[in-house]
Subunit: 462 residues, 2 copies
């Protein structure tokens, strides 16, 4: 522990959670009271990883648009942000971290009074032949995005294979379609978007197929095949080969917690750091963690989960910075809200899927309703499918999934608040939601689902 | 009271609340058990009054698109819907209503076991010179809409004056602009949309002016001036004259409760029928009322209000039909949610305005934040202004107003659910709302407002 009058806050990781924490701590306490040192091993800090697909697609004009705040801007606010500097060890007992300059290799120790671990996540990269070949790209960092864009200029043809049909995979499929590629998405699941139940995922698949995307579901990738030049030429599954001039990996991420593990900090079943409500690492008074490297409490299931998402990382950073700055704030948990789109198809989900509810022993009723985004007679009204899960007996809302066009995705926010508040579907039938013909039918699609779910809960009462 | 084995349900008013009640009662009980007679004095039943501005604008192709269900369709479901038949008296003691055939003038009594009053609202029509002149039009009914459209073919020029700058007035202003009219909106308030605080109304006025609409605020209309042919030629205020080839009245409605008043049924301060949670008229076991003729409980202020809105009318009808059919359902109240648009400007509001909070003795903090509809770097991101009111000390959310473009209006649903659940703005800062760059900044505009409001509540703690 350092003995100087001025405290030092050390932040490991210069992205959303880390720099939000640093910025908020700085707002709480000035440089006379608190020194803030942040280490980032990469070339960029505070960038929007969620924006990469839209940069690749050409919707976003250039990499720099995705940078929320440059290192210079952070430094101007008295945050000593050290780029290209990788923390290689946390010495919790001594209150210090060892950092290495990536370019020179020079190492040194920095002591801390307070520590924030925001090491993020690392992409899952299958340990299979050929996955390190030129032309195979992840899309986690801005460097990844640039490498993919550079690679496209060298690709022989215009066939892309996306491995993984989750959010990133689906968004990258859209991006490659917009780039003029013929796109195949390969996934082990039968339907895309495994964060949805398969019946809702099917709607996404149909829409993808309508856009000319080939969905190869139920297919385990076995290897990447390369050409004479060493560059990717196809992706192989057990049953088929998909020609590919470029391969994009969208198979998700794991918490990057090797440092924390080595330091003996507590990790959960998903490999993420475990924290209390104040985002303090359990059992460590002066160590906080947030962002993609932590597990969070799912308020609906009561289980710990790993949900890498920029919006959570920012909230964590805000809470950590407040607490590390001497204030008080908490992150109570998540309900599992996520929204996405494939061209004009919108997808929203929150709460539990059927399998999640089963896993935690909840009995439930499900309903699926078809409605429209606007009053049926209003121009541009488009179909919207809402699936709702409610607990038996109590009628408590458990989850909602929505697939449709305009206005479908963000409608899950209604359910996200209802889940947070613990409303029943019967209570939801009376929600005073905004109605006007350009915005909703007289019964909002979420209300239609709630009515049907409430009826089913009543009918099933034993 | 009738003595036959089969009960008879009589419904007064064949629009949203009345026919929803009739339909739901029919779903609960078949024609062998329950006879249903509904009286409607007009030419149409079950139409969407909210859709009239969009029919007038030409967005909706023809009047029939606004009819949800024809009289024939109701009759096919064993609902004896009698059109052009006006109920002229309710005899509560004897359990009967007197009805008059509008065309023949013939009158007769019909007895009931159960009665539903759904007489709707009547437009406020100023008792001033000239308001009954040809070319002056209300827009409450399909007949009104048709008369306005017919009138446009006879108008000498293309200047329209809309009297009243509430939802209907603003929507009609847009409709007339789309019809190619030069539009002036006259209102006694300085700013349009008095359902917003004036600072938010100002944003609407600026947008209206940007569309070429002239907003004449702070102007009390004194009379309608007519030409030699008797047709409207201008609208006069104390200070000015606005030339008009057509005048549209958008000055709101009052509960149509003359029948109920004459029958001695309980009315509230706004002139609407008073009901219990089951929508039963207070003190009358077998009489229900719903839709625009009742007052509703505002769950935020605890006061009774009159809020004529199709979505409430439909919910009332559903609750009444369930109860009249022998089931159990309640309408707990409203939080005052409303959404609207003027061309691509979207407007949403829910909960209390500053003056509402003042009126019921609530002390509060207000914040107004500027944010964007999508991630700032994502194409099409547009500005969004969110105003939030929170109670002092408790931090309970009291109201939200949003003005912006795409995605602004329906974002108030988040606040509508939060109000229903009684969340504090501090709790709202942790809401797990959907985030992806095409749909929201990493901090949703509502979260940005909640953070700022929570900070203000903390800072103001005595």
């Amino acid at each position: 522990m350092r003995m100087s009058a001025k405290e030092r806050l050390v932040v490991i990781g210069g992205d959303a959670a880390g720099m939000s924490a640093a910025s908020q701590a700085r707002r709480m306490r000035g440089p006379d009271e608190l020194e803030i040192v942040a280490f980032e091993r990469g070339h960029f800090a505070s960038f929007s990883a969620c924006g990469i697909p839209y940069w690749v697609s050409g919707d976003v004009d250039g990499r720099d648009r995705l940078i929320a705040r440059t290192p210079e801007e952070h430094r101007a606010r008295d945050i000593d942000l050290r780029m290209r500097t990788e923390v290689t060890e946390i010495d919790v007992a001594a209150g210090r971290v060892r950092a290495r300059d990536v370019d020179s290799g020079a190492e040194s120790w920095t002591s801390y009074d307070k520590l924030v671990i925001a090491t993020g996540a690392r992409p899952v990269r299958p340990d299979l032949p050929g996955f390190d070949a030129p032309g195979v790209h992840g899309v986690q960092t801005l460097d990844d995005g640039q490498a993919l864009l550079d690679s496209l200029t060298r690709a022989r043809g215009r066939r892309a294979v996306v491995v993984g049909a989750g959010y990133i995979g689906v968004e990258m499929a859209e991006a490659m379609v917009k780039r003029g590629y013929e796109v195949t998405v390969v996934d082990r699941g039968e339907e895309p978007m495994s964060t949805l139940d398969p019946d809702m995922g099917r709607l996404v698949r149909r829409a993808m197929e309508g856009l000319g995307i080939t969905m190869a579901g139920g297919a385990e990738v076995t290897k990447v095949l390369t050409g004479d030049d060493g560059r990717v030429r196809a992706v192989a599954t057990e049953d088929a080969e998909y020609p590919a001039d470029v391969v994009v990996l969208g198979i998700g991420v794991r918490p990057e917690t090797a440092l924390a593990r080595a330091a003996g900090l507590p990790l959960g079943a998903h490999g993420g750091l475990l924290t209390d409500r104040a985002m303090r690492v359990r059992g460590h008074e002066n160590v906080w963690a947030g962002g993609d490297c932590v597990e969070v409490l799912d308020l609906v299931s009561g289980q710990q989960r790993h949900i890498p998402l920029g919006t959570h990382a920012n909230k964590h950073g805000q809470v950590i910075g407040t607490n590390a700055g001497g204030g008080y704030a908490t992150f109570p948990g998540v309900v599992g809200t996520a929204v996405s789109k494939v061209c004009d198809l919108e997808i929203g989900r929150t709460g539990l899927r059927e399998r999640d509810a089963d896993r935690v022993g909840l009995r439930f009723e499900t309903v699926t309703v078809e409605s429209t985004s606007r009053a049926g007679y209003y121009p541009g009204a488009s179909p919207m499918t809402v699936k709702m899960l409610a607990e038996r007996r109590t009628g408590r809302l458990l989850g909602v999934q929505i697939v449709g066009r305009e206005g479908a995705a963000k409608r899950v926010d209604i359910a996200a608040v209802a889940l947070t508040a613990g409303l029943t579907v019967e209570q939801m039938t009376a929600l005073d939601l905004g109605y006007a013909p350009p915005f909703s039918p007289v019964w909002d699609p979420v209300l239609v689902a709630a009515r049907k779910a409430a009826a089913k809960v009543r009918d099933s009462a034993p």
